[in-house]
Symmetry: C2
Subunit: 216 residues, 2 copies
Amino acid sequence: MGVAVRNMLTREEKKGQTRAALMDAALELVGKGENFASISLREVAKNAGVVPTSFYRHFRDMEELGLNIVDELGMLLRKILRAARQQEDYVTNLTRRSLVIYTQFVLEHRSHFYFLCQCRTGGTPALRSGIRHELRYFANELASDMRQFGSVERIDREDLEQICEVIVGLVADTTIDLLDLQASHTGFQEEYVAQLQKKLRLVWLGAQSWRSDRSA
Amino acid sequence: MGVAVRNMLTREEKKGQTRAALMDAALELVGKGENFASISLREVAKNAGVVPTSFYRHFRDMEELGLNIVDELGMLLRKILRAARQQEDYVTNLTRRSLVIYTQFVLEHRSHFYFLCQCRTGGTPALRSGIRHELRYFANELASDMRQFGSVERIDREDLEQICEVIVGLVADTTIDLLDLQASHTGFQEEYVAQLQKKLRLVWLGAQSWRSDRSA
DNA sequence: CTTTTCAGTGTACAAGTGTTGACTCAAAAA
DNA sequence: TTTTTGAGTCAACACTTGTACACTGAAAAG
């Protein structure tokens, strides 16, 4: 750097741009219903408006691209946490409105969450553990929030984290339903939230009568 | 039919035999870590010791083969139910030993359950809904057992079925963990059961304090 | 017996795959 | 200014993919 910027793009800006185009192209294909595992490097390159060999300037192979998508996904999840915490009544009403926020994020980033559903239990080992890692982080953050705001005195840290993993697993598990029922009827989003909330209440009830002594 | 059977195979026996060989070949590839979505017709045919074009005598395409695997999977699940019910203490001790039986079935049919994990949320719509259908059936059977043997008077039918779907989802969700930790150390199976049982206890506690009035 | 049926074979093709190496040519560095 | 760097291009490779078509030959039907 040193020369005046003009309105042209610097070299690494341009690089980052096509890099993003490649990732977006892959995600778009996933969003269209293709399975990430069966998407070819060439297909991605073509969709990004780039020659196949150019792919290698950015990723070793499709799996490495996938791992970068996982990172994006992690950032997205943290963004959801931030948004949820920003509610003024987050403390008292932890579930209901947070779920609405979650569903909004999901529907605004369909492709990312299709990817999540596909790879969480179906991807290569590396992708799987990457996603698992992000979800565990999410669950632990949730646990620390519940420790502050919820009434969970009788539950020790380890148990609470495990409970939150169950919750996160439940949410992730039902996400595919939300994605499938696309723009069919708009009222479905509320229906989905209600049904999911019901399941979460079950877990919550369980947590209420949980004692960390005499359990393991 | 009419001629003496000799020790040769009849035509449709032989047909069913290669048909099974094709399905087994696909499952074997899944068990080796390949994703079902990216397995080719030719690969399956070669692995089954059959020429590619012969595939079409049995299945229109890989998806149709997949749907037949789903059927096999359904039969397997029903076999698990039968085995679990055959325990003399099934009534009182519904969870613990049933889980052991489940894990045994999983480890004896690794490929089928890899397939399950891959396709439950990551497969094509048809495969997904097929698997979902089988799991729902399983959950409903479980619900009817619980109605008979458990203390679930305060839970109406619909709620109980939903609770069982949560349980089944939880089990399915953790199955990938069981499969990943292969023959590494044998004691892991018990560890897995313990951890899963803990999660199920959480749901069970929740069910205990569930009231179907004032909930939806 | 003769005839029909049909699972499995062999060949062929057009299209797509990952990866190679040598090439441009503009931005960045000297 | 000149030199260097490196993202993107182009052409070519060896290989795999799904599918079509004509075939064989033994089991089943007549």
